[in-house]
Each structure stands twice: as structure tokens, then as C-alpha cells.
Symmetry: C2
Subunit: 578 residues, 2 copies
């Protein structure tokens, strides 16, 4: 069975030595109490909880899966309900929710660090609180005070859980095709009619109520995405005194059988005139959805990071233990895989944590200029975090199996589950191809290209100012940045006239961008590690930085050349020839 | 559900237009009857059989899996036994086995083309005849005439099936650690004692008998691989008249639960004084095993090719059908994935088929010089076919899921099964890292580097002599070959003094080598397609060749740079720092 030990040393190194997250408590008044000590304490508590309560349910949850009964109810795997209640009792569901709505009011960054660990221990479980957080955010951002008062506190405490009802069979990536109908009622509510698919946590008995944040089209609204509105559709109606009333007309019609995340239920939901309450203004639903979607994309990135860590630490342990007849870590190709896994996982952790920090600054920094800049970073980083950590989880899940050899293919070892659980991460909340299109089509042009210009300025400065002892990574980083800047300019210049040409290499571009960012992260980690007394730790970090610099960072050049090569005549090729 | 249509147009194009396999019937007397027409007829028959009988059992076999009963017997999925008997009745099990042992005596190449289709339709099923063929080859190459007469005919007809009993818990990649003991008996037979794991088709009721080709150590034999011998251990003893006698003392103790290929049973086998018959000479077992192992590696390559084709053709169909709201093939990133899948699959097909042709020439060509050269090619190509087609199957299995979006993660669509079924291909018959070590450590040095020198001479000649209209691929091919030659020389010069340094990039080197080979294949396909009248076919081939030339072939340079960068200090890093 795969085992999990929270990588506290790594986590604290990134938070405190690399990213100086302690500054949060100094610069953001709302987080004055979130000192490094407070964060460390919460992280320790969560680490123990994940190791002792969630990780042991990972393999059993995979084996057992979820079951829908003929009456439409759903059973989750054994132990999940108790674990969720204990998780909620620890306050983990609402770590970052405002205290006025019964959250702990602690930094978003802290909630994401906890999420990384939860997603290593049991990524299927993580979806129950994860979607609850997404539902909270969406309601918090757009709903009336009355709706907030009614729904938010119990979504913070985990007494209720949340979902997002977005996808329909004909409307996956194309939300303009959403057909679910909202019919206004005399009392100001709406009757919602339609069918939704791929609804994570759509039905279960782990919590007293389920709040469905639902995308639908009001009768008479325009076609396309500008005719969509968002609604709260509770599983059980909530009475004026806050107690639960009648069952609403929303049902789980079926559940999906999936490649992985078996412990997470994925529902087909039917709404047969279910009562819903409008969130925000009519026909502005797509905007309300995107508030949540952006944070959800970051969340999925953390799911990927958790799985990258799980793959890496198990592969390291196995490679140090297995003899064939030498300990296999001493075979060059195995050592290469281990270093690659560490280089990607630890580099991605800095990207993910830094993005979370920017969310905190964007939401709460007292200086509007800082907030604006932080928001630029969040916009730019979101597709990078989502795609890098999820492609990384699949790559490393596959690589961990290679390290295990034939044993990796056997379910009992718990390693193949990582690959199965991770593949969905590349698909939901926008496939990684859609992330790449978001990067190329939107993020490079945002505010006249401000975010990406700042990116190059900052990274070039860091590479140029690095002390000579870090030239081993600063120099290849400069070369990578030069290639990436050139590809970026090419896209910016080409996109308007020939969007397909500019987009053809979007995934290559996204990967090149992420590798340059990880190169910057490894420069910073090398610098921070050099200041440490622990020679064993320092040697590991410097070697891994060197591996990244020599084996991974040089890929940026080839990727950028491919980007600038464009689509050639490929888009014009008649489909009969394919 | 994934569907499968045998790509007959592609298969015949590669066989007849690109590789001129019709020459087999002219140059090899034994294959005089194997005219292009004969081959085409057999391929058509097999195509229909796979489409109608095997492909429909692929999803159901995955869902049902195999079951071991308390008495040690094993049930295979519904329909597998009937399908196997029909498969055998068609003569498919022994296509290439000599007619003196009841085979059809047809080219190895033909048997592999059939195998590609079988492995697209149902790769789990393919293992039953696949291992039977391996067992046949091993006995045919090394056993006495008496043993051959007793065992080979029924392995050709599929009345009996075969296995390879190699791996033990402590002896995976390290066969020197094999402990299974052979104790000589007065009658010339041996009693075999020990335990084997990961035994494909180790127990089932699909055939009357199972012949276990078993690696064991005679009492008193030297330690290490030079003390290993090979034995035939039948499930049922065979009487002098050829009828079956007593049950031998070999039992299936357990079966594995695996990520994929659920329809193929993987057994833990106990030998409790089972009767075995020595094959070949004492202590030369490892040589006998390698006869079979090399062909088995090519077989696994064809399994990968079959899965690549299955992933590709389903992704193409979906991309041409699914609207979001445009048909998704018109999204640049989707089209990029489709072209990449086709470029890899069709390029790998030429590599695989050409390797099979070389096997035919190596075994049967009347001219010893041709046989020697062909044998060089087989040696060089074996790790390339095995790794390229199996890494390709996993990559394309994953990419097909991306093309399907969230639907790809749902079992019902049959797409995620491709990734699950394919991952084992990168592990068994030597992990792909072991293939890369074989390439770097053995194949580059074989006969003084003769095979690889011939490779560069042939490919450089083809690139140099290509007409100007093919410069779009001939030029990048030349550049790739220059980089690969330089990396090859570096390995050849470095290996003896610093083997770990030379080996560190073995997987990068293997990939670079394969990409150069596929570049050569695409040059040849472009040339052959240009001679065709069918403009739709020609346009597709030329566009895909161009995609390969501009998007994939340029990766060779970066990979080779990484190879020549060596291991740095990575092998010296103390494991405590990992």
C-alpha cells in the first residue's frame, strides 16, 4: 500500500525560507494572527490528521467506491463519513472562510497547504470539502446578504456540503449550450428544470444538506453564455429559522463508473422543478461561475501537487529499499527518475504556494496597487498551476510505476492508483488544453500584457543578480527566458490576425512557461538552501536544482521553437485526410 | 465503448508500398507461397475475426476479469474460451511455426501484423496465444527432437497453451537471484521446487494442457545467471502416445489484481516437486531464455502498437464527431493531438513491421551475409520497438482521454482502459529503462558498433538522396542524425571508463534514437504516398510527415544534449539527500 508522511520540512522550507509567508501576518491586518508559528501549528495538526485518518482510507475507498441505491441515495466508502465529520470538527473545511460566516478567517495559503496534504493522503476524499469551499466562494462573491446568512455558515463548518452544477451532456467545454431552465415564481424563487452530469459530491449522506450552485438559463434569456444565471438549489429546503424542511426536487439519477477517484461520487443530477434562488443578477451567471472557477482551478492544481508528492515520496522509499541486486537507486536510470520526480514536485510546490499567497494579497492587502499586481499574478498563474501540477501528477504517477517495475502494476501496492486518480485532474475545471488557450488567448493580453511583462522583468532581474555560485541555474534560466519572451512576442503579434496559428502550440507554450517558472523557483530554492546549516538538506536541494537546470530547463528552447513554428497548413487539412 | 476497425489501408500501405514485403516470397524460398495476395487474404480474415470476435470482448473482459477458485482453477472472462478455440481453429496461434510442427509456416511478419490487430481488439486476450508462441520458440530453439515432437505440435494448434516461468519475488530484473531448484531424478527428469510470480496465463481452462517453460537452478549449480537451466513443466503429464496423464505438481496459488489487462490472468505459481524436462544443456538456461525474450520483446512492442492504433482511431472518430460547438477537430490543440497520435502510431508501425521483416530475413534468408545483417538490425531494433511502441501506447492512451475530455475518464467510453491496459507493456519483458540500458550497453557495442554504423550510413544516404520535394523532412532528419551520431560516439567513448555517466541519459538516448528512426519512416512514407493516386490519402500522409518533421523530430537535439551532459555528480549524491 502507498504510504504517506507529510513533507513538513519541505512545506516549511518553501513557506518560510523561499516565499517568506510570515510576511502575511505583518502586511495584511486581517491576518495579523497568522504568524509563522500559528501556521506551523495548524499544518502540524492537519499533517497528523491526514496521516492517521485520511491516508488509511485511500486504498479502501478506491476498492469500495460509491454506491447509488434504488431510492436515489448514495453510500460513500466506509470511514469517509466519520472522517469528514472529524475533518469538519477540526475546522479544516472553513480555514479561509471569513469568521463572520463561521470560518477560521485564516490565510488562503494555509488552506491550500492543508489541501496539498489532504490530496496526497486521499484525493477522492478531498473533493467533498473542496467543492464545499468552491460553493462557499461562489455564494460569498455574488449572493445577497440574506442568502449568505442562510447558507454560508454551515458550508464553513461542514455541516452542509456544496457542489457546482455546470456541465450538461451537450455542454462540456462549451457552456453556451447549457439548457437547464429557470422559471420565475411568484415568491421570487425559481423552478429549475434540466439535467446535469459530472456532478462531484452531488448526492451522499455525509452532511445534513447539500447546496447545489447551479448554472441555468432563465426563461426568455438570450442564447449563449450571456443568458446564463446562477442559483442556489438546496437538497433540503431551509426554513426561516435555519432548520431543514422539505426535500427539494433534485435527485441523483445515476452515478458514473470512473477510472479513478472512486471514493468521490460523480452524479447525474435531475432537476424536476427544483426550487432555486437567484445568486447575483440575471444573465450574469457566467461571471459568478468564473469567480469560483478560477479558485477551483487553483484547487485542482493543489490536488495535482498532492498526488505528485505521493508519487515521489513512495518512489523514493521504494528505490532506497529495493535490491536487484544493487539498491535500485544506484542504477543511473532509476536515480534519474527520482531526481526528475523531486525536481518537478518541489518546483511545482513553490509555484502553487506562491499562487496561493498572491490570492491572499489580491483579496486582502491594504494597498490597492499591491492588490492589483497580485491579481495579475493570480490570473497569469492559474492556468500554469492547474496544468503543471496535474500533467505532473500523471507523469509522476506513471514514473512511480516504472520505479516499482511490475509490482507497480499490482493494485495492492497502491501505486497505480496514483495514475488513475490523477488523470481526471487534467480534465475537470477546464482541460489542460483549455488552460493553455486561456494562457495564450487571455492572459498574455490582459491589461495590455502587463502581467507577462512583469513576469519577464522579475525573473530576468533574479537571474541577472544571482551570485556567481548560482550561475549553474541562473544562466540556463536567462536562456530559457529569452526563448520564452521571443515566443511570447510572436504569439502577441500573431494572435489577432491568425488565432489558430498562434494557438496551435498552446500546450507547448504552457509547458515552456511553466518550466521557466520552475527554473526561477529552483534558483530561489538553491539560494535559500545555501543559507541553511543542514548539509544533507542543502546538498539535496543543490543537486536537484542542478538536475532541473541541466535536464529540464533546456527543454524550453525546443518547445518555444515549436510554438513559433505555428500551425503550418495543418488547420487547413481536410478532415477526410485525418 | 471503444470501437475498432482494422486499419487495412494503412497496414497494406506499410507492407507493400513502404517496406515491399512482397519481396519475402521472392527472396526466401521457404516463403515462396507468401505472396502479397496470400498475406492480404490472411490479414483480411484476421481483421474480420478481430473486429467481430475479439473486440466485442474487450470491455466485458475488463469488467469481469479472471477468478481463481478455491481448488486452484481459474475462470477467464465469458467468451474468451470460445474465442480462443475459434482463433486456434483459424490457425492464428501457429501462423509462423514450421509446418513440421503443425504451424502454417508463414512469415513471422504476417504473424506480427495479425498480432497488431489482435492487440488493438483485445490486448488481454492476445497474451494467451502470445505466450504460447513464446513458449514454442523457446522449445523449438533449444530442446531435443523428442521434446519438440512431444510438445510443439499442440502449441502450434492451440490445443495447448504456454507460459514462461521466470520471475520470483526477489528476482525481477535480477535473474541471478532465481532460487527455484531442479533436482535430478533417476529417469532423467527433474523435480522442480520453488515459487514464481507474475506468470501470465499460468492457469486457466481454455486449453487441454499448459506447458510451463521454467527457469530454475540445478542442485549444485553455480550461483548467478550461469547456474540457471530451463525446463519444460507440463500442467498434465504427457504419455508416450501423446495423450494426457496425471496432473503435475504445479499449482496456481493466487492471482494478481492489476491496473489493467484484467482478461489476462497473472498467477503466483507453486512448484512442489513438479516433474520437469531439461531443455538444452545444463546451466545454459539464460541463453535459452533470451532466445524467447528477444522475440517476446518484439511481441510486446506489437502489443503497444495495437494499443496506439486503438487510441488513435477512437480519438480521431471522436474529434470528428463531437461538437463544442465547433467540431472539436477544428480546435487547434485537438488537431495537434490528433496529428501527434497519427504521427507516432503510423511511424511506429513502420519500425515494428520492418523489425519483423528483419526477423524473417535473419532466420530464413538463403544468403548468410543477409542473415547476418538482418540479425544486426533485429538486435538494434528490439529495444527500440519495445520501448517506442509501449511508451507510445501510454502517451497516446493518455492523449485519447484528453481528446474525450471528462468523458474519457468514464469507464463506459472504453478509452481509459487503453491507458490502464498499456501501462504493463512498459514494465514486462524488461522495463523500458532496461531496454534503454540494453541499447546503450550492448547494442551500441555489438560487433564493434557495426549495427549502429550501418544505421547512420543507411539513414544519411536516404536523407541525402531524397528529392528536393522531401527536403521538409530530409533536412531535419539529417540534423537529427548528426546530433544522434555525436551522442552515440560520446556514449561509445565514455562507457568503458564511466558507465554510469554514459548510462544516465539512456532513456533520453533511446527516445532520440527512436525519433530519428521514425523520421526515416516518415520520409519513406512521404515518398511512397507521393506515388499514390489517392489525393486524400496522399494529403494526409504528407501533412502528418510534415507534423513529424516540424514538431517531433526537432526534439532529438535537446535529448542528445542531455545525454552528453552525462550524470554530473548525481550518482555520487548520498542517498540521505534524496
Amino acid at each position: 500500500m502507498a504510504s504517506y508522511t507529510a513533507p513538513l520540512r519541505e512545506i516549511n522550507f518553501v513557506l518560510n525560507e523561499v516565499l517568506k509567508a510570515g510576511n502575511l501576518s505583518k502586511t495584511i491586518p486581517a491576518y495579523a494572527d497568522a504568524t509563522p508559528e500559528t501556521l506551523a501549528e495548524m499544518i502540524d495538526t492537519a499533517a497528523k490528521f491526514v496521516e492517521q485518518e485520511l491516508a488509511p482510507l485511500n486504498a479502501s475507498g478506491d476498492a469500495e467506491g460509491c454506491t447509488r441505491h434504488p431510492d436515489g441515495t448514495v453510500s460513500v466508502p466506509k470511514g469517509f463519513t466519520e472522517a469528514f465529520k472529524a475533518y469538519a470538527a477540526n475546522g479544516f473545511v472553513g480555514i479561509t472562510n471569513p469568521s463572520e460566516y463561521d470560518g477560521l478567517g485564516l490565510p488562503f495559503t494555509l488552506s491550500k497547504v492543508v489541501e496539498e496534504m489532504v490530496c496526497s493522503g486521499n484525493v477522492a476524499f478531498a473533493l467533498y470539502p473542496g467543492l464545499t469551499g468552491g460553493c462557499f466562494e461562489a455564494i460569498y462573491a455574488s449572493a445577497s446578504d440574506e442568502l449568505k446568512q442562510t447558507y454560508l455558515p454551515k458550508l464553513s463548518t461542514g455541516e452542509w456540503t456544496g457542489t457546482m452544477l455546470i456541465t450538461e451532456p451537450q455542454a462540456g467545454s462549451d457552456l453556451a449550450a447549457v439548457k437547464t431552465k429557470a422559471i420565475p415564481q411568484a415568491d421570487g424563487s425559481y423552478k429549475i428544470e434540466g439535467g446535469k452530469i459530472f456532478i462531484t459530491s452531488g448526492e451522499h449522506g455525509m452532511a445534513d444538506n447539500i447546496i447545489h450552485f447551479t448554472l441555468a438559463r432563465m426563461e426568455g434569456a438570450p442564447a449563449g453564455v450571456k443568458g446564463l444565471s446562477t442559483f442556489i438549489v438546496p437538497k433540503f429546503m431551509v426554513k426561516a429559522d435555519g432548520t431543514l424542511g422539505e426535500r427539494n426536487a433534485i435527485q441523483c439519477a445515476a452515478i458514473e463508473h470512473k477510472m479513478g477517484i472512486h471514493g468521490s461520487v460523480t452524479c447525474v443530477m435531475n432537476l424536476d422543478g427544483a426550487t432555486g434562488f437567484l445568486v447575483g443578477k440575471p444573465n450574469e451567471g457566467i461571471m459568478n461561475m468564473f469567480v469560483m472557477m478560477n479558485l477551483a482551478r487553483i484547487m485542482v492544481g493543489f490536488q495535482g501537487l498532492g498526488q505528485m508528492e505521493l508519487a515521489t515520496q513512495n518512489a523514493v522509499r521504494y528505490a532506497l529499499d529495493r535490491k536487484q541486486p544493487r539498491t535500485i537507486i544506484d542504477f543511473p536510470d532509476v536515480r534519474r527518475m527520482i531526481l526528475q520526480m523531486k525536481a518537478m514536485t518541489e518546483g511545482a510546490r513553490v509555484l502553487a504556494y506562491e499562487t496561493a499567497l498572491y490570492v491572499d494579497y489580491a483579496h486582502h492587502h491594504p494597498d490597492p496597487a499591491v492588490r492589483e499586481e497580485a491579481n495579475d499574478w493570480v490570473e497569469l498563474n492559474t492556468p500554469l498551476v492547474k496544468s503543471t501540477c496535474t500533467d505532473g501528477a500523471v507523469d509522476l504517477g506513471s514514473m512511480a510505476i516504472q520505479v516499482y517495475g511490475g509490482h507497480g502494476f499490482i493494485i495492492e501496492h497502491g501505486i497505480e492508483q496514483i495514475l488513475r486518480d490523477s488523470k481526471i485532474l487534467c480534465l475537470y475545471e477546464g482541460t489542460n488544453g483549455i488552460q493553455a488557450m486561456d494562457l495564450v488567448r487571455r492572459k498574455l493580453f490582459l491589461n495590455g500584457g502587463r502581467a507577462v511583462s512583469r513576469y519577464f522583468a522579475l525573473l530576468n532581474k533574479a537571474a541577472t543578480e544571482a551570485a556567481p555560485e548560482f550561475a549553474f541555474i541562473a544562466e540556463p534560466l536567462k536562456a530559457a527566458l529569452a526563448d520564452l519572451e521571443s515566443a511570447t512576442r510572436w504569439i502577441q503579434e500573431t494572435f489577432r490576425a491568425r488565432p489558430d496559428d498562434a494557438s496551435f502550440g498552446c500546450c507547448d507554450y504552457q509547458r515552456a512557461f511553466a518550466l521557466s517558472y520552475l527554473g526561477y523557483n529552483w534558483l530561489r530554492m538553491a539560494q535559500a538552501a545555501s543559507a541553511q546549516d543542514d548539509e544533507v538538506f542543502k546538498a539535496g536541494k543543490l543537486a536537484t536544482a542542478k538536475f532541473f537546470a541541466t535536464k529540464l530547463l533546456p527543454q524550453v528552447g525546443g518547445l518555444c521553437a515549436s510554438v513559433k513554428d505555428g500551425a503550418g497548413d495543418f488547420m487547413a487539412l481536410p478532415t477526410a485526410s485525418l
